[in-house]
Symmetry: C2
Subunit: 245 residues, 2 copies
Amino acid sequence: MSQTQNYIDTTAMFRKYAHSARMLLALDSIVFGFDGEELKLLLIKRNFEPEKGKWSLMGGFLEENEDLELATNRILYDLTGLKDVYFEELKAFGKVDRDPLERTISICFFALINIHAHDQDLAKAQNAFWISLKDRPNLVFDHNEMVDLALERLRYRAALHPIGFELLPEKFTIPQLQKLYEAIYDTPLDRRNFSRKILSTKLLIDTGEKNENSATKKAILYKLDQTKYQSQFNAFHYFMSDASR
Amino acid sequence: MSQTQNYIDTTAMFRKYAHSARMLLALDSIVFGFDGEELKLLLIKRNFEPEKGKWSLMGGFLEENEDLELATNRILYDLTGLKDVYFEELKAFGKVDRDPLERTISICFFALINIHAHDQDLAKAQNAFWISLKDRPNLVFDHNEMVDLALERLRYRAALHPIGFELLPEKFTIPQLQKLYEAIYDTPLDRRNFSRKILSTKLLIDTGEKNENSATKKAILYKLDQTKYQSQFNAFHYFMSDASR
DNA sequence: TCAAAAGTGTTCAAGCTACACCCATGA
DNA sequence: TCATGGGTGTAGCTTGAACACTTTTGA
């Protein structure tokens, strides 16, 4: 047993900070997707206790020898089969009674994925389903509160930073992007101003291809300029003028 | 022993989620203050183990029957004697080896306080000192990383929302407020444009008083319009046009 | 040839930036 | 009366909002 493993043994004889409580640390994930029309959540129909049969977020416990960041990626991978998923930490939830079985602190985060790229068999194995935000069911514990906060934070962040692209396929059209923003903010936008605003960021590259799925005029397919995306990510872009109210 | 206490007992016989690890949950606080010239941090000269003699953030452990939010307030109160302190959660830090004694997850937050209002005896009892950001010492564990992130977040948030006021006394002048923003962003600002921008938010109320401490023309003392402050807090105010780079 | 969706241009108002001038105060 | 710091005004530019017309496509 290594020195490090000695230190983190939770049996009393190895404890150094003797008087404080040890507790479970859960990670709960809010996974957003976009099907071209509506914003969706990947939710679990629980086939395990507690609250079996009810809906909840996907979660898991942080393990003894696992970095927090790695655990987050593990949980997202087990649910979607995707690596390098975009996510942001939301908040830690720590009411004493939030989990009826045992004191558990949950660190909650939201993830944005391309709904067409995830592994459907894995989702099925976890009993996970895509549910439109407009039909969202009641969730267990404090998970409703988590989703409310996640949606608020998504709106806040997407108004200022180019995170919306994470919800789209690699190649997408400006009208598709507009539908995404309209879904996120549940509001109609002016086509002409939206297009000009997006193009003025210089974040998009014209692929030269067009959207062949269209029955009318085919829209230009763009992709993200990865270099500019990374360098300008933290600059404010003001995709929505004041979406925070 | 109540039902609830049964559930959260950490001895093995009561554990319901049997296979996952229990661990310590720390709360680490970055306390910002402003003395009229410089942005400062309230840091602890550790007179306890581990890393006795070195500098660190103020922290504490979440207790068994304590809500997370209450624990945060407790830690801030024990350090400053202040209640209702403005704070925001920053991030959870959870590397396996971040604390050498025992696996500890830290939920880190930053607080903004009026430097003149805190209890100096309490700070002394904790061995806490105000250190200018420009002279900040090396800190223990991952606390340097926490301070870096806190400063980044403060700049991000203060550019968009009226949180700077939390660092000032109840009554303050516009030149004082400008010095604060100049300290936060470490950049000079135009007096005339700054004043117009601040007044255009309509968040300030002219108290009718003037700053008697001035040797030259006495500046008008303003106070926050609490009603507008609360209702407009989440609206974007753009105090700094693009401070996030 | 027509309906539906996509691309582009113009005008007006508001806000931002970069400046200069005047006022109040105490030494 | 002078140096220092505080309050206000303006011209020019940029940005954003509102709105109309033209093009492409397949049925």
